[in-house]
């Protein structure tokens, strides 16, 4: 076990835990944001640099500070380590810089992007970004392509977190997409004429932090905050069958895996559950799902709404629209 202090809060974690996971055990504001790290995928992280933190004391044995800011998602804690995250102006400055870098080539087309409302980059930019850009040159753009028959790749939005390549490496039996080219011309793409059609390929959509990979069966159907997420399960031979149904009325618009408060999926689901069972009848409904991370979805706290009260309210509205006199109970008193 190692004792580590993050922003003045001490926590004891097993050896080999990363700084990020130690911070998550504390929770709250001291947790660094992460765009490329993904707990359930091995070897992810270290690329986006938004989780940079300052280590002011390496360990009890070697109290020297580390010379540079380190990526907290890939740096293991040492006993006696002292870490500064939000208490260090240097870290906040660097993070602001990284957010700016991530945004200079991002199209910022949130109004027409399906990910809006559940986008990690949106949240990150809202929290750490500047109000205006200093970048005035042309942004890089790519053509939209279909990778596989169910996934749309909108490379212009991609922040190159590499998560989807790790999904293909670790969940499917062969990866047929990857990163082509170099530098800011690099793009995610498939090998020539190949399509991503593996049974677990749909998880690429869930791990994508931005709107680069979207579900073609859900594209432009609805804004996520107009849908109601419901926990449901079914007996599936390929996966756990535990999913979230994104519904509008009785209609299931989208099926996705369940994400935790950090937007990470612990139980990946198969493509059959994701695409082929868009009937309420196929699922055993467990109840409304609370989405922690993206407050915009749970904004109305629909899961706490009294349905009977709502019905009465709707009836009242309808009556009002028909030009009839309002029932007595609603007149101002």
């Amino acid at each position: 076990m190692a004792k580590v202090t993050i922003d003045g809060v001490e926590v004891e974690v097993p050896d080999g835990t990363t700084i990020l996971n130690a911070a998550r055990q504390i929770g709250g504001d001291v947790v660094p944001p992460a765009m490329c790290y993904y707990t359930s995928l091995k070897e992810t992280g270290g690329k986006c640099r938004v989780c940079l933190v300052k280590v002011t004391q390496g360990s009890t044995k070697d109290p020297r500070p580390l010379p540079k800011l380190v990526a907290s998602c890939r740096t293991p804690v040492m006993d006696g380590m002292i870490v500064q995250n939000i208490t260090s102006p240097e870290v906040l400055e660097a993070r602001k810089g990284v957010v700016e870098f991530l945004l200079i080539n991002h199209p910022l087309d949130c109004p027409i992007c399906d990910q809006a409302g559940e986008c990690d980059l949106q949240n990150l930019a809202y929290e750490h970004g500047a109000a205006a850009t200093r970048y005035e040159e042309e942004r890089r753009t790519f053509e939209k392509i279909d990778i596989g028959d169910k996934i749309k790749l909108h490379m212009t939005r991609c922040i190159l977190c590499y998560r989807c390549t790790f999904v293909a490496d670790q969940l499917t039996d062969n990866r047929c997409h990857g990163v082509l080219n170099r530098g800011d011309a690099s793009e995610i793409s498939t090998y020539i004429e190949k399509a991503v059609d593996n049974d677990f390929s749909g998880n690429m959509i869930d791990v994508c932090p931005v709107g680069a990979l979207t579900d073609k069966t859900f594209r432009f159907k609805s804004r996520v905050w107009f849908t109601k997420p419901i926990d449901a399960h079914r007996n599936c031979t390929k996966c756990s069958g535990n999913v979230v149904l994104w519904t509008k009325g009785e209609e299931v618009l989208r099926v996705s895996a369940r994400k935790d408060q950090y937007g990470e999926v612990k139980e990946f689901i198969c493509n059959e559950c994701r695409y082929d069972h868009k009937n309420m009848g196929d699922w055993v409904v467990e109840g409304p799902r609370h989405i922690d991370r993206n407050s915009v979805i749970s904004q109305n706290h629909y899961e706490k709404i009294d349905l009977k009260k709502l019905q009465l309210e709707v009836d009242r509205q309808l009556t009002f629209q028909k030009g009839k006199q309002l029932p007595q109970s609603n007149s101002p008193s």
Binding site: K47, A94, G97, E100, L160, R182, G183, S186
Partner: protein
């Protein structure tokens, strides 16, 4: 005549052939090492010699060797970094082209010290003709029994392979090189683990520059004590310097570390002074990645002492008034050189060569290049100069590998020392539209009074 160690026989005709090389004392170090020394003794010898990595970072080679995980039962590898892509650096090419056997000799001796049964020379893709030279030399060494099984009758066996890269600057970074050598995309790895613990194929690996490995030969031949005598302080031995730019005699020179910079630039033995009788304006002392210094600061440090060609002396004053010896790519600029244009060229290079793995470098290098393009072509604004400084600051130190730093340092230093030149570009856009504008109207800032 300065003492030459690496390039002693550079002008011997046919030195690239095994028989000629052997006649001039070649492979003596392998004989000496294998027959009279243990691997640990040899490592100690290199440690004592004070040899520092010649690839750019200047990390002590012996210390690097001693970090190698010798307890693990995995095979150990030695990899020679011949992916010399730093703009302004061409010393390894010269060495491998002229005396390929020197590198091979060093590889055998170093592998013996590290206990590596297999080693690789990773050559940059543009040096395809050198791959052929090295392969021919390796074949000759195999035929003479210096490579293969039971070298010189001892139980040390060794195989050496040459692997050409595909022409990416980033593959000169040691972990990216290992990725590329494994056949993957050349993205730098996150450290730790360091290659000494988990390098090539997750086995303990040492990655050394061509010149470092070639220097091991001289260390064995002349013993560490004698090698130590050359140079000053912690910068021992000799160094190959690739001199280029506005000088009378560009080329590769072997210098003893500790040579005054002024002598190097102006003596006829080396660069032979600035061409066309012009004045010195600025020097990039160690390849494009290191900070640029104006004439007054490269000849003398901030305290007024003459600057020497050593790791310490060039770094004197930190990044405020100093630079680095780096890989020895010595680029000299005369009074007509345009610093902005030069910097734009450098940044174009880094933008093109960024691997795109981590965000600050991927996006920041392109951004800096675009802003510099604007300045150089007369569309700049005053606030662009501060923007460049700020972007460079946000890249520096926040990336996975040193490429981000390498892209940020030249920008920060050029603006630090030559700010009025950037302002000149903003104030007189009509004057800078001609690519050779500085040839016509030399601009020497007051701070950089030429010698």
């Amino acid at each position: 005549m300065p003492k030459k160690v690496l390039l002693e026989h550079e002008n011997v005709p046919g030195i690239n052939r095994f028989d000629v090389y052997r006649k001039h004392g070649g492979y003596a170090s392998v004989e000496k090492a294998l027959k009279t020394m243990t691997p640990d003794q040899l490592t100690e010898e290199v440690k004592e010699s004070g040899l520092r990595g010649r690839g750019g970072a200047g990390f002590p080679t012996g210390l690097k060797w001693s970090f190698l995980d010798r307890k693990s039962d995995k095979p150990r590898y030695l990899v020679c970094n011949a992916d010399e892509s730093e703009p302004g650096t061409f010393k390894d090419r010269y060495l491998m082209e002229k005396i390929p056997h020197l590198l091979i000799e060093g590889m055998i001796a170093s592998s013996y010290a590290l206990g590596a049964k297999t080693s690789y020379i990773y050559v940059r893709g543009e040096y395809m003709y050198i791959v052929k030279i090295l392969e021919k030399a390796i074949d000759e060494a195999y035929a003479a029994g210096f490579l293969g099984k039971n070298i010189l009758g001892t139980d040390f066996s060794h195989d050496l392979y040459v692997q050409p890269g595909a022409g990416a600057y980033i593959c000169g970074e040691e972990t990216a090189l290992l990725e590329s050598l494994e056949g993957k995309r050349g993205n730098p790895r996150l450290k730790p683990p360091f290659p000494a613990i988990a390098g090539l194929y997750a086995c303990p690996t040492v990655v050394n520059n061509v010149e470092s490995i070639a220097s091991v030969v001289s260390i064995i031949n002349m013993t560490a004590d004698k090698y130590n005598d050359m140079g000053i302080g912690k910068s021992t031995g000799t160094k190959l310097i690739s001199a280029s730019g506005h000088i009378n005699k560009p080329g590769v020179y072997e210098i003893e570390l500790g040579l005054p910079v002024e002598e190097f630039i102006y003596s006829d033995e080396y660069c032979g002074g600035i061409w066309k009788g012009r004045k010195l304006k600025a020097v990039v002392a160690g390849g494009s990645s290191v900070p640029i210094l104006p004439a007054n600061l490269i000849l003398k440090n901030a305290k007024g002492e003459p600057r020497l060609m050593t790791y310490e002396s060039l770094a004197d004053g930190g990044f405020a008034t100093g630079t680095m010896l780096g890989s020895g790519g010595f680029i000299v600029m005369d009074e007509t050189a345009c610093i902005v244009r030069n910097l734009w060229t450098f940044e174009r290079f880094y933008h093109h060569e960024s691997c795109g793995q981590c965000s600050p470098c991927r996006e920041g290098t392109g951004w800096m290049e675009k802003v510099l393009h604007r300045l150089e072509h007369g569309h700049g604004r005053m606030e662009d100069i501060d923007l460049l400084v700020d972007v460079a600051k946000k890249i520096e130190g926040n990336t996975i590998c040193p490429l981000g730093d390498a892209a940020a340092w030249p920008v920060a230093s050029a603006i630090r020392h030559f700010r009025e030149e950037f302002e000149y570009h903003v104030k007189y856009p009509e004057k800078v539209k001609n690519p050779k504008h500085f040839e016509i109207e030399p601009l020497v800032s007051a701070a950089a009074v030429a010698v």
